[in-house]
Symmetry: C2
Subunit: 479 residues, 2 copies
C-alpha cells in the first residue's frame, strides 16, 4: 500500500532536467511518449470544448440558487444525475446524507435618526433571527477581530458590534483566511462582550452594493446573536457616520433553523482498466448560496470537472486507474458533503491516489500546486510539463486542494490544486451578483484542458503520490 | 436686449487663430490678460479643491436617497440651505413648488415552474401597482420597442411584454436616448396589445444584479399597467429560458401615488458688480432616485457646481454679471424643478445669459459644447482656450446643456455643456449602487476647475451669446 518504488514504474524513467544554460533544476520524470501525445490531444480538445460552458449555463439557468439542504439543491442533484447519464455515465449515482437545514428570511437594516437611510445587509449562513420587529441599537466599530476581543466584558451591552476589516485583492485569494475567520468567529466574541447583534464588512473586494453571505458559527455555551454582512459601500457609510459621532441601526433578520433535511453527493466515474480500485478524484460542489445562481461558486467547478471527465471519455483513451467525479453537496455550510463522502468511502480512502477540487471561480488556471510525497515530485513535475503549454506555472508542494478534499487530505490522501486566477473572485463570491454572465468561455476551456490533462496523467502513472510520513496539516481553504 | 455688437466689447478683440502650419481655423476672441490670469488661478485652485468632494460626501452620508417630493428631498433642501449659508451665501433661499408624489413599495419577481428562481426587478418611477398578491403571466420577448409596436392587437392578452434592448457603452451617453425612450413608452404600447405588465431590460451598461429605475409614463386613455426593469443578468436569464421555450413570471409591485407633495429648488448667487440683472446659471439637481444615495446622479453635480461658486467667491474676484447656482428639485420625475424655475423666473429669462447643468456623473470633463449664436463662437472658443489646459476638447455648437436647462433653452437661453466622461455612468445610474465610494477626488477637482473657469469668464464677457434667430430645438438629455 505504501508508495511503489520508482524503479518499478512501467512507463516512466526519471531524468534530470536542465535549463538552457545547463544549470540543474527540479527533477522531472520522463513520460511515455504515448502519454505525452494523449495529453496534447486532451489539451487541444479542452481548448475548444463547448460542453463545460453549456453545463454552467444549464445549472444556473434551469436550477439557479441551490442552498444546501433545500428543494433546489435536490433539484440540482436530479439535474446532475440526468445530465451525467445523458453524457453516458450510466453508473452515475446520488449518495444522500442528512443535515440540519437553514433558510434565509427577511433581512433589512437602516440607519436610525437624522441620517436615516437603508443599509444593504444579508444574514450570515446559520445566523439566528432578531425579534420579528427587529432590534435597534447603537453601533460600535472595531477595525479587526483583535480589537473586538480586547473590548472589556459588558462594554457592548445592548449594542451591535461592527467588525470592519476589508478583504484585500489578490490572485490566490490569500486574504480570505483572515476575513473568513472574522465572519465565522465574530458572533460569539461579540456576544461575550454583551452585544445583541453583529455586523461585519462583507468579505468581498468589490465596491458594489451587494452584501456577501457565508457561513458563521456559534460557540457552545455563549449566547447566539444575529449576524449579518454589510455591503462594502454600506460599511463605508456606517464608518463615515461613526466618524461624525454615534450611529444607531435598526436591523431585522428572520432566518430559520429547519431541523434535519436531505442533501447528497453526486458521483460518476470512468473505471480504470488495470487498477480500477485506485481512484483519482476531481470535482466541484453542487450547492451554492441562495443569493445568486452560483455561477462562479461553484457552477464553474461543476462544469469544468464534468466536462473534463466527458472529454477523457470521448477521447477513446482508457485510463489504467479510475477517474471519479464527485459533485459534493452542502459545501457552503461546513463541508458536509465532503465529510459524508469521506465517511461513506472510508474503506477505500487508502486507494484514493490524488484529489483536486475546482472551487475558486471561473478564472484561468495560473499555478499548479501539489501536496505529495517528496519522492514523487518528479512525477508531478512531469504532469506540470504537460500543463505548462496552458500558461500554468509550477507552485509549491503545499496545496490545500480545495475545501471538499480537506477530509480526504486529513485522511492522508495526496492532493493537487489547479489554482485559478481569483483576482476578481471575491467581487462576486456569495452575492446575488454571482450569475452566468460572469463566465468566460475561453477561461473555462483552459480549465477543462488542465483538469483533463491532470486527471489523465495521474490515472496512468504508476505512482501513489503518498508521502513516506504525513506532512503536518496546514490551514487554507477557499470555499 | 439682443446681442451686443462685437465692436462694443470692452475687454475683447477678435483674432483669427492659426495652426502651426498656418491653416485658418475657428475664430478665437482675445481675452483681457487680467481675465486669463484669473482663469489660471481658478483652474489651479479648482484642481486642489477639497470642498466639492466633501459636499458630495455630506449629502450622500447625511441625507442619502432623496426621492422627489419625499421627506428626504425636503431634508436635502434644508441641508443645502444650511450648507450654502455656512459657505457664506447669505441670500441662499428655497423656492418651493407642489408636485404629485409617488413612493416605491414591494418589488419582487420570480420565474414560475421548473426553473423557479428569483428575478431582481425594480418598479419604474410612476408605475402603477399589481394586485397585492401579484400577477402571474407568460412572458413574450421583444428585442426592441418597434417589435412590440408591430405586435397585433390582442396578441399580448393576459401576458407580460419583455422589451429587451441593451444600452451600449459610450463616452457621451449617446445610446441613452433610445433606451430611455423605451423605458418611458413601453407600458402604453404594451397595454394597447393587451399586456397586463411590462418588464424592460435595465437601461444600464453593467452586468451587475442591480435593476435600474427611472421614470416611465402612461398615455391618456390607455390602460395603465405595472412596469419594472430587470437587471441585466436577470434579463439574460429570462432570455435564455425563453430560448428554451415558454416562461412564466410572478411579479408583485406595490408602489403608490401620493397626491400633492412639496418639492423645491435651492438657489444661491454671487451678485454681479456691473450688470447684476444679467445671470449666468450653473447647477445640478438635488433629488435622486430612492435606490442609491445619488452620488453620481446627481450629488456630483451639486458638489461640483456649489464648490465652483464657492471657489469664485473665495478668490476675491468680483464678477461683472451675476453667477447663480440652482440646485433643482424633482428632476428625475419630469424636470419639475426646472419647469418651476423657468415659470418663477419668467420675467428675467431674457436676462439669463447662459446656463449649464452638471448632471452626467462624476467623470472628468472631456468636451466643451455650446449652443450660442454663431457670431459669438469666438468668445466661447476663447473660454475653451482656458478650459483646454484641463484636458478638455472643443465640441460642436449643438449642446443640450443638461436636463434642467431644457426649459431655459426652450425659452431662448443660450446653453453650454461641460461633457463628462460617461463611459461608466450607466453602470451605476439609477441603481442602489450609486454611492459615494464611486466618487474620485481628482475627477471632481477637474470638474470644479472647469465650472469655475467657465462661469467666471461667461460672467465677465460683454457678450449675450444669443443667436440672431433661435436655432431649431434638438432632442438629447441625460437625466
Ligand atoms: Zn465554493
Ligand atoms: Zn462558497
Ligand atoms: Zn437621473
Ligand atoms: Zn440626473
Amino acid at each position: 500500500m505504501k508508495r511503489m518504488i520508482l524503479g518499478a514504474c512501467l512507463v516512466l524513467s526519471t531524468a534530470i532536467a536542465t535549463t538552457p544554460t545547463g544549470a540543474q533544476t527540479s527533477s522531472v520524470a520522463t513520460l511515455d511518449p504515448a502519454l505525452v501525445e494523449q495529453a496534447a490531444k486532451l489539451r487541444a480538445k479542452g481548448l475548444s470544448d463547448q460542453q463545460g460552458y453549456k453545463l454552467i449555463e444549464g445549472l444556473t439557468t434551469e436550477i439557479g440558487p441551490r442552498l444546501a439542504g433545500s428543494d433546489r439543491e435536490a433539484a440540482a442533484r436530479q439535474w446532475a444525475l440526468k445530465t451525467l447519464k445523458d453524457l453516458g455515465f450510466e453508473t452515475a449515482r446520488i449518495e444522500p446524507f442528512t443535515m440540519d437545514g437553514w433558510a434565509r428570511g427577511v433581512e433589512t437594516a437602516r440607519i436610525v435618526g437624522e441620517a436615516v437611510q437603508p443599509l444593504h445587509i444579508t444574514a450570515l449562513g446559520g445566523s439566528v433571527a432578531t425579534p420579528e420587529d427587529g432590534i435597534t441599537a447603537q453601533v460600535v466599530r472595531f477595525t479587526d477581530l483583535y480589537e473586538l476581543e480586547a473590548a472589556p466584558k459588558g462594554s457592548l451591552d445592548g449594542k451591535i458590534a461592527f467588525v470592519d476589516l476589508k478583504l484585500y485583492r489578490s490572485q490566490d485569494g490569500s486574504g480570505y483566511g483572515n476575513t473568513n475567520y472574522i465572519r465565522g468567529n465574530s458572533p460569539s466574541v461579540a456576544a461575550q462582550k454583551g452585544a445583541v447583534g453583529v455586523l461585519i464588512r462583507s468579505v468581498g473586494t468589490d465596491s458594489h452594493r451587494f452584501p456577501h453571505t457565508g457561513g458563521t458559527r456559534y460557540k457552545d455555551g455563549i449566547a447566539k446573536i444575529p449576524a449579518a454582512a454589510l455591503s462594502n459601500p454600506d460599511a463605508d457609510q456606517l464608518a463615515r457616520l461613526l466618524e461624525r459621532g454615534t450611529a444607531q441601526v435598526h436591523m431585522t433578520l428572520t432566518p430559520k433553523a429547519l431541523g434535519p433535511v436531505q442533501s447528497g453527493n453526486v458521483i460518476a466515474e470512468i473505471k480504470g482498466t488495470e487498477q480500477p480500485e485506485k481512484i483519482i478524484v476531481i470535482g466541484g460542489h453542487l450547492d451554492s448560496w441562495d443569493l445568486g445562481t452560483g455561477a462562479v461558486d461553484d457552477g464553474a467547478g461543476v462544469g469544468i470537472t464534468t466536462a473534463a471527465l466527458k472529454l477523457i471519455k470521448d477521447s477513446g483513451f482508457a485510463p489504467k486507474r479510475t477517474i471519479r467525479l464527485v459533485l459534493w453537496g452542502a459545501e457552503e455550510v461546513g463541508l458536509l458533503g465532503a465529510r459524508a463522502y469521506a465517511e461513506a468511502h472510508k474503506d477505500e480512502l487508502a486507494d484514493h491516489v490524488i484529489a483536486a477540487e475546482s472551487d475558486f471561480g471561473a478564472g484561468r488556471v495560473w499555478d499548479f500546486r501539489t501536496r505529495v510525497g517528496e519522492e514523487d515530485l518528479p512525477f508531478t513535475n512531469a504532469i506540470h510539463r504537460q500543463l505548462r503549454p496552458l500558461g500554468i506555472g509550477r507552485g509549491a508542494n503545499d496545496a490545500g486542494g480545495g475545501p471538499d478534499v480537506i477530509p480526504l487530505r486529513m485522511a492522508g490522501v495526496p492532493v493537487a490544486a489547479l489554482y485559478q486566477d481569483g483576482t476578481d473572485y471575491f467581487d462576486l463570491h456569495h452575492t446575488a451578483n454571482d450569475t452566468f454572465d460572469k463566465i468566460d468561455l475561453a477561461d473555462i476551456q483552459q480549465n477543462i484542458a488542465a483538469y483533463a490533462v491532470f486527471a489523465w496523467l495521474a490515472a496512468n502513472l504508476d505512482v501513489e503520490f503518498r508521502p513516506q510520513a504525513d506532512a503536518p496539516e496546514q490551514a487554507g481553504t477557499q470555499n
